[in-house]
């Protein structure tokens, strides 16, 4: 019963049912109604998928909207991506904006632009240049965040956590309005090595904690070392 798996190709404005394919290519505007399993999905233009997607490789140039859960190996988007359910990935690269209505889980994520998540994000390496808004827990082995604009996370946990502000000179916009300043707000940050800049948090706990300029922290707990920049405001620091 071995059937050869075929390709799907949509050019212009088109609709298709889901199914199992080798390669799915969309040039233009494509709407897919059913679940898709494929080896490779490439979209130049707009993709709308009202079902789950499983693919070894996904590349979206343009916009993508997927209402079902997504399982993917290599996942790259240049443009805007909106997924309403859980995302699993090996490697995720986003240039632009990624919004997810649930949580995401994977190995390696690189975000150049904006990341917005309604639930938890778990991965081994997370690198963000830009904006990050996670409403749940951000759990990663290594977190490197270079902030542009207002960032937010309920909780951050991991081994190495480095939060920096991109560039040192204040931008013109920041001079006009404090709201647009690059700043991270979190409730709790916990990790082994923590380096923070321009962060507002209630509790920071870690083995080696370095508080850089512009921080506002209620309570720091550290095991080995602790350093704080004089330009930051730490209400209480305790060695345990």
């Amino acid at each position: 019963m071995e059937q050869s798996i075929r390709d799907m190709k949509l050019n212009g404005v088109g609709q298709a049912a889901g199914g199992r394919y080798k390669r799915v290519q969309i040039d233009g505007i494509g709407t897919i109604g059913g679940e898709v399993h494929c080896e490779e999905l490439l979209c130049n233009g707009q993709l709308k998928l009202n079902a789950p997607l499983t693919a070894e490789q996904i590349t979206i140039n343009g916009t993508g909207k997927i209402t079902g859960p997504v399982h993917s190996g290599d996942f790259r988007t240049d443009g805007m991506l909106n997924i309403e359910e859980e995302v699993r990935f090996d490697k995720l690269v986003i240039n632009g904006m990624f919004k997810c209505g649930a949580g995401a889980r994977g190995e390696h994520a690189e975000i150049y632009g904006t990341l917005k998540l309604k639930k938890d994000l778990q991965c081994e390496i997370l690198e963000v240049w830009g904006n990050l808004q996670v409403e749940g827990l951000l759990n990663a082995g290594t977190i490197r965040l270079e902030m542009i604009g207002k960032c937010k996370a309920r909780e951050i946990g991991g081994e190495h956590i480095i939060i920096r502000k991109r560039g040192t000179a204040p931008k013109l916009l920041e001079l006009f309005s404090g709201k647009l300043a690059s700043r991270l707000t979190a409730d709790v940050i916990e990790g082994d090595d923590i380096e923070l800049e321009h962060t507002k948090a209630r509790i920071v706990r870690g083995s080696r904690v370095r508080i850089g300029p512009g921080c506002e922290i209620d309570y720091v707990e550290y095991k080995d070392t602790y350093e704080a920049d004089p330009k930051s405001d730490v209400s209480q620091a305790k060695h345990i």
């Binding site: 082995g141 409730d187 990790g191 082994d192 509790i203």
Partner: protein, 211 residues
């Protein structure tokens, strides 16, 4: 669910692990999501854990992590069934089950060939209950039938095995984890087993003998 809770901070003090390790184990699913209980305390929101469960789990992880990689460890703790198959001879040779339990099983299920993990688990549970003297061989057959027919329905989710007796008549019950159940006074609960726990023990036992 009247489990005693322990705060994250106390847990780290007690076990000597770091925040990084705890978060890493969570990522690798060595510690299940449900054990992270968020509660408000006087310092704001804090995370708590069921004390006994988390302490024994961390103890196991710390003791085993030298020999196994984290991914292999995750396999041990997950309630889903590993892809493994052993022959009857191997089962006896590695002391996973005794020939008595195996005989009862073979009589009850007319099984041939090698044993998949799910089957080994049935024999393992049977072995355990026979050894402890909780069931007779006749009841063992009933157990095998119950497990063969209904255990796959739980498909990787944790469940509990219950053996009750009323006026000497035995009945086996498989039910989803943490559900409440009450009986009339004449009923005696003989055995209550968590299948996830048995699965874990069995995986360890198979792991020790093999490779």
């Amino acid at each position: 669910m009247n489990d005693e809770l322990i705060s994250k901070k106390e847990l780290l003090d007690l076990t000597g692990i770091s925040y990084g390790q705890l978060y890493r184990w969570k990522r690798k699913s060595l510690i299940p999501e449900e054990w992270f209980i968020r509660k408000s305390s006087f310092t704001g929101q804090e995370t708590f854990f069921p004390k006994d469960k988390i302490l024994s789990r961390i103890d196991k992880i710390l003791n085993m992590k030298d020999g196994l990689s984290l991914d292999e460890l995750a396999d041990v703790f997950s309630p889903s069934l590993k892809e493994i198959s052993l022959t009857a001879e191997q089962l006896l040779e590695r002391n996973i089950v005794t020939s008595i339990a195996l005989d009862v099983y073979l009589k009850a299920s007319r099984h041939e060939g090698s044993f998949m993990f799910e089957k080994i688990l049935s024999v393992f549970v049977l072995e355990r209950l026979l050894q402890s003297g909780d069931i007779s061989m006749e009841e063992g057959r009933l157990l095998v039938q119950t497990l063969t027919e209904h255990y796959p329905a739980f498909a990787g989710r944790d469940c509990e095995l219950l053996l009750i007796r009323k006026m000497g008549v035995a009945a086996f019950i498989l039910m989803s984890k943490n559900s409440e159940i009450y009986f009339d006074r004449g009923v005696k609960v003989v055995v209550r087993l968590s299948m996830a726990q048995v699965t874990e023990e069995l995986k360890l036992k198979i792991g020790e003998g093999g490779e």
